[in-house]
């Protein structure tokens, strides 16, 4: 069964460990020290937002009906057999048309303007236990990696309903 990164908002303290771990996992050297010195700045794909008093870590939800899949004019965004939505390692390269950035309701696809590259969570960060770097790094259990049981699905629907309303 597919596992997902679920967010327990009440537990996030905004320490940004997840952001750091995500960037390091996407660096060439895969170590913090190495990552700092790399010519190509490693990019995080999870973002801790401040919303009023709340801290909220957000990354790609790999939506069932992902708007970014419909929107991609280059044929670059695709779903892997594991259910991961990504624009890396597929049939076509990303051309930086920003269609996905324009339609992602979570705002979790970043636009790297110089490289003309849309950058998002690709799950190319799993450790030996098959756990994503952001989840592994979270000290408070705000991020958990679970299969989508009914609870998870409900939470996700609720989030979507609140974020995108009528959708």
């Amino acid at each position: 069964m597919t596992r997902e990164v679920l967010i327990r908002y009440d537990r996030c303290t905004g320490c940004r460990s997840c952001e750091l771990a995500c960037a390091v996992a996407h660096s060439a050297s895969k170590t913090l020290l190495g990552a700092i010195g790399e010519a190509k700045r490693p990019l995080k794909r999870i973002f801790v937002h401040q919303a009023g008093a709340k801290k909220v870590p957000l990354n790609c939800r790999h939506c069932g009906e992902a708007p970014c899949l419909d929107a991609c004019i280059a044929g670059s965004m695709y779903r892997t057999t594991e259910g991961i939505v990504t624009n890396e390692g597929g049939e076509r390269p990303c051309v930086g048309c920003w269609m996905c950035v324009m339609v992602c309701p979570y705002g979790v696809i970043r636009s790297e303007l110089k490289e003309k590259l849309a950058v998002k969570c690709d799950r190319n960060c799993l450790d030996d236990g098959k756990v994503p770097a952001c989840v592994r790094a979270c000290p408070t259990g705000a991020l958990v990696y679970e299969s989508i049981d009914q609870f998870g699905e409900d939470r996700r629907k609720e989030f979507l309903a609140k974020a995108v309303g009528g959708q």
């Binding site: 919303a51 009023g52 957000l58 004019i73 044929g75 049939e91 920003w98 303007l113 309303g165 009528g166």
Partner: protein
């Protein structure tokens, strides 16, 4: 079930792909006038700039075979005979269907002025046309692009990247009137001017004149009588839906093929999706041709779901939904700015500009130039029609994220 799809592009491919995953046993045939592997139409300006076909492919060649979809390329569908549930195509060929999807797209509007048939006067809609333009550009000394919309500017930028002097004729008072306001359009214009493109405003061409060769373009003649030397001219004044197949079969047409929420035309078992249809904008409530890649894919998917017998209504889409980048300047424009009663703007160092249009405490449109992060959060706010309430104060400067909406 036998399904025939006319058109091998955004809508047709999305429909075929989704139909196959819903109906493993359906017999699916795609008929395509263009005799090329599937490519992204939005990227054909790259061909004008000198790129090769491979760089604009949309799906790999194996796509159709792997899914057991019968693709017949290089054939035109002449008519739909709904009484016999057949289409006639190619040289006296016929295909029968249980369900038919018309995904014939649209074609560029012509100016209808003297000299438009001269060699060197083009429109840009297909790979073949892009290839011809590219060849002409290699020999031409100067180019004129007619139209300051997205296709015109993409073409102008591509021609300029080849080193040609390029002039863009714009009838309106600023570029990209469908997408941008005067201030943001000026930022895009500045970027394009820095790339070496010139602009003439308030003018349409009234004709094209030959030069030394009586068959080939030499000059573009303007309303004010000026004659601009040009070895290449490209007319980019919008598109009109390819609705003939349905019209001639007696189906209902207005600004495009009329479909209901289930993507059905007024003809039995005939569906339509993509640039060839008319849709209702979810913000303005007005009918308008669909005319966007993203919507064509969405509609192709909905058509497939409904053809497969799983009724699912297509929600009215946002018909203004554009993102692009010229030089170092990206922009996103979504929704209906003209519906706004109140506007919030934010500018930074002449490189960043964001503007939100609000009506009755709801977001109805936005423009982002230079900084486009989180654009999708705003797009979904327009779609959901959610009241902004106390978010409003923090709206610009990247302070509002999806986190605020939980």
């Amino acid at each position: 079930m036998k399904v025939v799809i006319v058109g091998n592009s955004a809508a047709g491919i999305a429909a075929a792909e989704n139909l196959r995953s819903l109906e493993p046993l359906a017999e699916i045939t795609v008929l395509s006038q263009e005799n090329h592997p599937s490519y992204s139409r939005c990227l054909i300006a790259e061909i004008v700039a000198g790129a090769v076909f491979d760089s604009i492919r949309y799906r790999p060649d194996s796509f159709f075979e792997e899914r057991n979809i019968n693709l017949i390329r290089g054939v035109r569908v002449h008519s739909v005979n709904h009484a016999s549930s057949t289409v006639s195509f190619g040289e006296e060929k016929e295909a029968s269907y249980d369900k038919l999807l018309v995904a014939t797209g649209s074609r560029p509007v012509r100016l209808g002025v003297a000299g438009e048939e001269l060699d060197g006067v083009f429109v840009l809609r297909s790979y073949d046309q892009a290839e011809l333009i590219s060849r002409c550009a290699a020999a031409a000394n100067d180019a004129v692009v007619i139209g300051g919309g997205l296709v015109g500017l993409k073409a102008a930028y591509a021609l300029r990247r080849r080193g040609l002097p390029v002039t863009v004729l714009v009838k309106s008072s600023h570029l990209l009137t469908r997408q941008l306001d005067a201030l943001s359009a000026a930022m895009v214009e500045k970027e394009l001017r820095e790339a070496g493109i010139s602009f003439i405003y308030g003018q349409n061409p009234v004709g094209f004149k030959c030069g030394a060769d009586p068959k080939a373009l030499g000059f573009v003649v303007l309303e004010d009588g000026r004659e601009i030397p040009a070895g290449l001219a490209l007319v980019a004044k919008g598109v009109s839906p390819n609705a003939e197949l349905v019209r001639e079969a007696g189906g209902e047409i207005s600004s495009g093929i009329k479909v209901n929420a289930f993507m059905e035309t007024s003809l039995p078992n005939v569906y339509a999706a993509g640039d060839c249809i008319e849709v209702t904008d979810c913000v303005t409530g007005r009918q308008t041709p669909s005319a966007l890649w993203t919507l064509a894919v969405e509609q192709g998917r909905y058509a497939a779901i409904n053809m497969a017998g799983r009724q699912k209504a297509y929600p009215d889409p946002l018909t203004r939904l554009n993102a692009a980048q010229f030089g170092r300047l990206p922009f996103v424009s979504v929704g209906a700015m003209e519906e706004g009663e109140e506007f919030l703007t934010w500018q930074k160092e002449g490189r960043v500009y964001q503007k939100l249009a609000i009506r009755e405490d709801r977001l109805v449109g936005f423009i982002m130039v230079g900084l486009i992060e989180q654009a999708g959060v705003f797009t979904s706010l327009i779609k959901s029609k959610r009241p902004l309430g106390n978010l409003r104060g923090d709206f610009l400067q990247g302070k509002v994220s999806a986190a605020n909406l939980i």
